[in-house]
Subunit: 145 residues, 4 copies
């Protein structure tokens, strides 16, 4: 996919740095390509639900930010991105050392962009195991001057 | 709705207390009735996304826990609850002093329970304003001995 | 809710009459109020899936049209409505003599409108039983001249 | 993916033949592999909504059946499949000569199976264009004797 904004990568990184929640949970931006974003999150016990698995809301937090920035990376300069809706299927208990949310744009539109994100666990060097998948819609709004 | 587990309220409270993420974000269980749960979350700047609104993932976190415990409140003793899937529509920017996620069971089944949660902002004593709504599925699993 | 288009009821009815699929399956518009639409569908064996229940896609067809027209009823004159996305939870086998999809607007926006629809079975004069619920997003597009 | 039921292909075909709605709309089973199903539907004017596009409910009908049979193809003998929930994003107006719904299982479980379906238009020999995508959950129930 061809980005409309030549400085998309810097703007994604700058916006991500302005999401305080990412700092609170310890998430990092690990891949920025046109229409594709990865966010990495090491497991922490204080992010868990009652069984010790990563809470589905935290899984959603990194998937949603990944989707938002995947959409944003294809928007023209001077845009802002907001989440319209998303749906998450939780496939396995979210247990592992590290989690990666990888989002890819399915259809970029002038107003609405549809994005999918998969959230994987990664233990050591082993294969990724899918724990959740998101399908969502992002909206492009013009930045207020 | 009639609870199958007479000590459902104590068990919901005990399980909620074992969700470390609720403590991290400052969420509290504020209503426990059969099939109905409310979770309250005061706004904090470190829970925000890049525009200062509560991150959609945090909105989802309290909505998902509310849905899970609403389902759990109707399950027989010896059950555990897990989220199967949910869908969230974000209706307005999540700005306000306090947020309440209110979940109500739509259909309780032996295996699957369908739940809806609305997330409101509450400023002072004024009316609730809806910021997001979730429709999701929870599954009942038998507790491992 | 206050309609922006004084002739919304006539326009909903006219548009519904232009949906050939409604005629094919035998669905009728049974209630038109601002932000609220009901569509009624008598059971027919040729609308069923392999167990004789109404196919989930047919349940969705009437729910989606009800949601679309509920959104459309609140749009300004000269608008068209399209479905952006919807999510359906199927709560019970869709068996019964008659089905009613009732849609209500949750949040009407200038571009996007969020709508919920419940699909009930109605047997004789007895109570409605909920078989499915939809949560979806509709978009307002200006009619091309 | 490895099928548990050696006669899965015959059973999918037999069950599909028992869905009267598929005959009503003119849909055909065009691919049956373990965990992968395609259903083909030629455009017909009586399946349209008010702008002449295939109604979103019809798009959903073939996507849902494709998802159901993709899940069913991996279930043990003596199972039945029902749809629990699905979410559909509509990406483009559904216009074209032929539509294909292609479903693939993402995660097959003993009780629940998560499936994705893409619906494409195919005009002549040209490339497929994606018009909608579904993410849903199917449930395995034991056949009643």
């Amino acid at each position: 996919m061809t980005p409309l904004n030549p400085s998309f990568a810097a703007e994604v990184a700058a916006s991500f740095a302005q999401q305080p929640i990412m700092n609170l949970i310890g998430a990092q931006l690990s891949l920025v390509e046109p229409g594709v974003i990865e966010i990495t999150l090491p497991y922490r016990a204080d992010l868990a639900q009652q069984h010790g698995y990563l809470h589905a809301g935290v899984v959603t937090t990194i998937a949603d930010s990944a989707c938002g920035y995947a959409a944003y990376s294809l928007m023209p300069a001077g845009s802002e991105v907001l989440s319209v809706e998303f749906k998450v299927n939780l496939l396995r208990p979210a247990q592992g050392e590290n989690f990666i949310a990888r989002a890819e744009v399915i259809k970029a539109g002038r107003t609405l962009t549809v994005v999918r994100a998969d959230v994987f666990t990664v233990a050591g060097d082993s294969d990724r195991e899918l724990v959740a998948t998101m399908q969502g819609t992002m909206i492009c709004v013009r930045k207020r001057e």
